[in-house]
Amino acid sequence: MSAFTLSLKASAQLLLSIAIILGCLAAAKVIMQFTQGSFPAPLLGMLLLLGLLLTGLIKEHHVTPSASPLLNYMPLFFIPAGVGFIEHLNLISLHWQFIVACLILVPLTSLLLISHLIAVFKGRAQHD
């Protein structure tokens, strides 16, 4: 195959994978619009795509061309949203004790609960 047909094929595969991902997202948005639910559409889209992968209707290599760059640079996409906390500095300084308590107690309790739960079944030792 010439370089041209190869790159044409790669572009077609990229377009197909974009279409699959946007298709799942669009389908999820339509479903949420009709059911009037408050479930976040992107999450439903994720579940739809997972279902399609698990049933084998869509293969891993169908989505990889656009999924892997999206996943590699995912943190970039929530930087603008993350910076938004500066709009709530007043609220944060007013309730900083609550926020500090959450930052410490939420992960601490989960860590201890989960690790001990598994240790009950698997033992605490290093090797299982």
């Binding site: 976040p40 698990l54 656009s66 995912m74 930087i79 906390f85 989960s110 989960i114």
Partner: protein, 235 residues
């Protein structure tokens, strides 16, 4: 005045890529955690906005293209979820139960703390989904009527704390089993904790990745239903 706002996206992208390279300079777990690109990127952007008195609205308007990509990226998360599921069929049930316990615990602890501290509703709704990877926190918190950006910042911070102190706490509590450590870190401290776990031991890292993927899925399913139910029950 010359319009320089179009520089927002190139600046954020360049900064992020530079931070990604910085992150790879050392193998030390502490260094990797403290130079987590998304953490530093948010801190630097926030500092620049505050120092130069730039309204957040302007920044968010000019970077909205990046935010648009978040939705398809969340859909793409199905791919690592699918891959991780194939990996762990054997111990799937135990990891599944632990993740459910971790997520419910995180939501309940956040909820109880919001009652103890008697915080405004908006703030209480912001701590409902802290035990999950940041993009999922953003959309779940938003759907619950919380401050998504605050939840995201908190989740990133929790990841950092987990990467820095998680293993010290686990060792201190006497749990050394790799599966127990991995699943606990993955569920409670998601991506940043998982990076630390991978650095500590490949097996812990593998369990951590699985638990992180699973808790992303389970949070997406459980929290949007559990939280309204909790608030009805107790308020």
């Amino acid at each position: 005045m010359i319009n320089l706002w179009w520089l927002c996206i190139p600046a954020v992208v360049t900064g992020f890529i530079l931070l990604k390279h910085l992150n790879k300079l050392s193998q030390s777990t502490t260094f990797i955690a403290l130079t987590t690109p998304v953490f530093l990127a948010i801190v630097f952007s926030a500092l620049i906005l505050i120092l130069f008195n730039i309204p957040y609205e302007t920044f968010s308007y000019h970077t909205q293209f990046l935010s648009w990509l978040l939705e398809p990226a969340i859909v793409a998360l199905a791919l690592p979820l699918y891959k991780q599921f194939l990996h762990v069929r054997k111990s799937a049930l135990l990891i599944f139960i632990s993740s459910v316990v971790g997520i419910v615990n995180a939501t309940v602890v956040g909820f109880l703390l919001s009652i103890v501290f008697a915080v405004p509703k908006e703030l209480a709704h912001s701590v409902a989904a802290l035990s999950v990877t940041t993009p999922i926190t953003l959309v779940v918190t938003d759907s619950l009527g919380g401050i998504a950006s605050l939840a995201a910042a908190m989740v990133i911070f929790i990841g950092l704390l987990g990467a820095l102190f998680g293993f010290i706490i686990l060792q201190w509590s006497g749990v050394l089993n790799h599966q127990a450590q991995g699943v606990a870190i993955g569920t409670a401290c998601h991506a940043i904790g998982t990076a630390a776990a991978l650095n500590k031991h490949p097996q812990i890292g593998a369990f951590s990745s699985v638990a992180m993927a699973l808790s992303a899925l389970l949070t997406a399913i459980i929290v949007p239903w559990l939280y309204p139910y909790l608030s009805q029950l107790l308020l």
